[in-house]
Symmetry: C2
Subunit: 446 residues, 2 copies
């Protein structure tokens, strides 16, 4: 019994002088134990079922690091997270290991493989993007998505990039199919990164933010149509989607979601908030994301619509608060995983075409938006420039288009590398330019 009485006072263990040394010793041994376990985990000495915790701990710690960088280096957290993702990507680590070896630092065996559970990490990343767009949806108004200006920006932002991409690829000797895929990839917009920047700079309520989000949603439908045209013309076997059907399905989904959403809100608001209602809202968000993904729109479009619908609920604030923890944990994983996808070996190998095509990615979206700014009197030219930059990231949308081309043997591995490097590079550079522009021109506009 005496021993357990001692243990009772475990917290003040080190106040009694005799035990001070023991406490120090145990604390020190504990730290050694922790370090040893992590070292063992990183060198692959821990079974796969337990390793998954380490992967998540690692990702959350990177998110902490990004928060620190945001504070001290005044960088955008999305960009910082993508950069951290690149630094831990397999291709970068392989090069780093090689470099360390060549300067005489002995590195044991293969470069450390941090992520074994790609399935899990990918799902976490997708959840992060879904929650981000859900929350942005909760701040958006439906009326403002389908405005004339947004339509105009979206249409121009598909035509010009497609045309420029197609002609550049044809001109440099690319096949018809390759040129079509380059065009389709350039027509796409990945709004996740941009939206995170807008949220961070607290300018989501500005006119240019509304146009970016609205145009990106419409753009998603248009890019889908372009993709089905490309697939039909280049003869990808299985994916023989009818263009008309694709368009009707997308339209029915978006309009139908908003029309039926009213009934969902009526149910949600009938009683006080409860665990059941919270879970129902989460299930609604995920179900909308799932349907959007299956009909070939992005999951984030579905999540955004779910957010728009739930913004009308009287439990709005509760939902906003109770999803904060999810957002803080999963959103960084989305950005880190974008960085992880970068294969810097291919980037180095094809640096010429990648830089040119990324330049086209920038110029085409910005020029088409400024064109709308000049023609449309309700839309200032400085706003239109910001919108153009905001639409530059191609991200995972262009990656998906490129991977369809690769999977069906239309694109070669090197062509795929060029398109995917453009998709990621545009998502990486545009946010920095965007933040800079908003700080200079954006704060004055309405």
């Amino acid at each position: 019994m005496k021993r357990s009485k001692r243990l009772l006072d475990i917290q003040n263990f080190d106040r009694e002088p005799i035990y001070k040394m023991a406490a120090l010793l145990i604390g020190f041994t504990f730290l050694l134990l922790v370090i040893n376990v992590f070292q063992k985990g990183l060198s692959g000495g821990v079974g796969a079922d337990k390793h998954v915790y380490l992967e998540i701990v690692f990702l959350v710690l990177l998110a902490v690091l990004a928060e620190v960088a945001v504070f001290y280096l005044k960088q955008q957290s999305a960009v910082t997270l993508m950069l951290l993702g690149i630094l831990i990507s397999p291709s970068f680590l392989t090069i780093l290991w090689g470099a360390l070896g060549s300067v005489g630092i002995p590195v044991e065996g293969a470069p450390l493989k941090i992520f074994e559970h790609e399935d899990v990490i990918h799902t976490f990343a997708q959840l992060g993007a879904i929650i981000l767009l859900f929350k942005v949806g909760m701040h958006s108004k439906i009326e403002k998505i389908f405005s004339g200006t947004n339509m105009f920006v979206a249409v121009m932002g598909v035509i010009l990039p497609f045309a420029l991409g197609y002609f550049y690829a044809s001109y440099t000797g690319g096949s018809f199919a390759y040129a079509m895929f380059v065009g389709a990839a350039l027509a796409a917009t990945s709004v996740g990164v941009t939206v995170a920047i807008l949220k961070e700079l607290k300018v989501l309520d500005k006119k240019f933010s509304e146009v970016i989000i609205g145009a990106a949603i419409i753009d998603d439908i248009l890019a889908l149509l372009v993709l089905s045209i490309v697939i039909n013309m280049t003869g990808v076997p299985e994916q023989n989607a009818s263009i008309v059907l694709t368009f009707i399905t997308s339209a029915v989904f978006i309009i139908g979601a908003i029309l039926t959403g009213k009934y969902f809100i009526r149910y949600m608001d009938r009683n006080d908030m409860s665990n059941k209602r919270f879970l129902l809202a989460i299930a609604y968000m995920l179900a909308m994301a799932y349907v959007a993904e299956v009909i070939q729109l992005s999951a984030i479009v579905g999540a955004f619509l779910a957010g728009v619908v739930l913004s009308k609920s009287r439990h709005y604030e509760y939902l906003e608060k109770s999803t904060l923890g999810l957002e803080l944990i999963f959103m960084p994983i989305f950005f880190i995983s974008l960085g992880l996808l970068v294969d810097i070996v291919s980037v180095a190998a094809y640096i010429g075409p990648i830089l040119i095509i990324t330049l086209i990615a920038f110029v085409s979206k910005i020029a088409s938006s400024i064109f709308v700014g000049i023609v449309d009197k309700s839309f200032s030219v400085s706003d239109s420039a910001i919108v153009g930059i905001g639409m530059v990231p191609r991200g995972e949308v262009a990656l998906i288009i490129a991977s369809i081309g690769l999977a069906n043997g239309i694109l070669t591995q090197s062509e795929f590398s060029v398109i995917s490097a453009m998709a990621l590079l545009s998502a990486f550079i545009a946010p920095m330019v965007l933040a800079y522009f908003i700080k200079i021109f954006g704060t004055a506009s309405t």
Copy 2:
């Protein structure tokens, strides 16, 4: 432009009589689309990368269903969720499909396979258990874990079940190794389910709850020691853990975590709460769970300790609130996945030995606890009975022990089935008995 003006008013679309029909039609088509997508998903017509959303939607909807059942049927949600898990387990669905076929209902092909991403679901389930125990830890006091009563309950709760299990298995002709593994599996305690019940009944601050949680933590260490003894004696090749080392490692981890925790709290409390600090707390929780898991304690013991440490932080309430969303989403997945593991075909095949061994699982833990209640004057007999029932669930801890035996060829498939059925059955029945007892005897005690 006119078309977009119309779309602007999309929300009040159906107020204008001419468009009422159109709105109805679109809403109806939308519902058909959603149903079609889900049907396609359930019948395996959707690619694996998209299917994962459906799996999560499905799990969250089951959680909603459980909330409804809790409200109308006055059942415990943990038990309801496990039951729902059994109803969608592959073995049950196979039988159901067979039964439907035999009464003439045509069922196409193989039973529907809902979960393709077992890795993802398993990780979600583990996160659920970790968050649950983390939050319980935040309500616990360190001083109350290592009390004499808890030690006594834990030691008795290992000795008696081990002895009874060993003798029963030997008596019925089991090999020495099988008997040892039965004993070890019966000595274990899985506290997750019990704690969820205590939390739901709002009795976490009662004496019996403190004893259950404290004794279960100590039991985890003792069961680990028993397992390393069993492994040494039955000669499992690779896992040649030294008993002394196992004990020292566990002790250093638990005491060291609490001693070093003070410094972590000092850092956490130095400034206001921020995203960085929130992420750091989450990383701390997961890192502790990881280390505990690697040194063969359960992940939940590490998470519990992290909770105990963070309970001293002045940001306590913020952490409590901001992890609610995570808890609501992931905890149900833990219980559903326990149900999913049940293989009712083996349960039916070995129903005799399973029932006897489950009875031993009940009697041995309850008797050992009541024995302590009689001897220890500070511990009432009715409380000791509740504690005994609370310690009955063997759950995933016994499952892990059984699977070590199976993986090393010491247990046959049928022996493994018997032990794992006991592990799950005890986790399933005990909570119902526990809730019943607490309602009768528990509310009066302190």
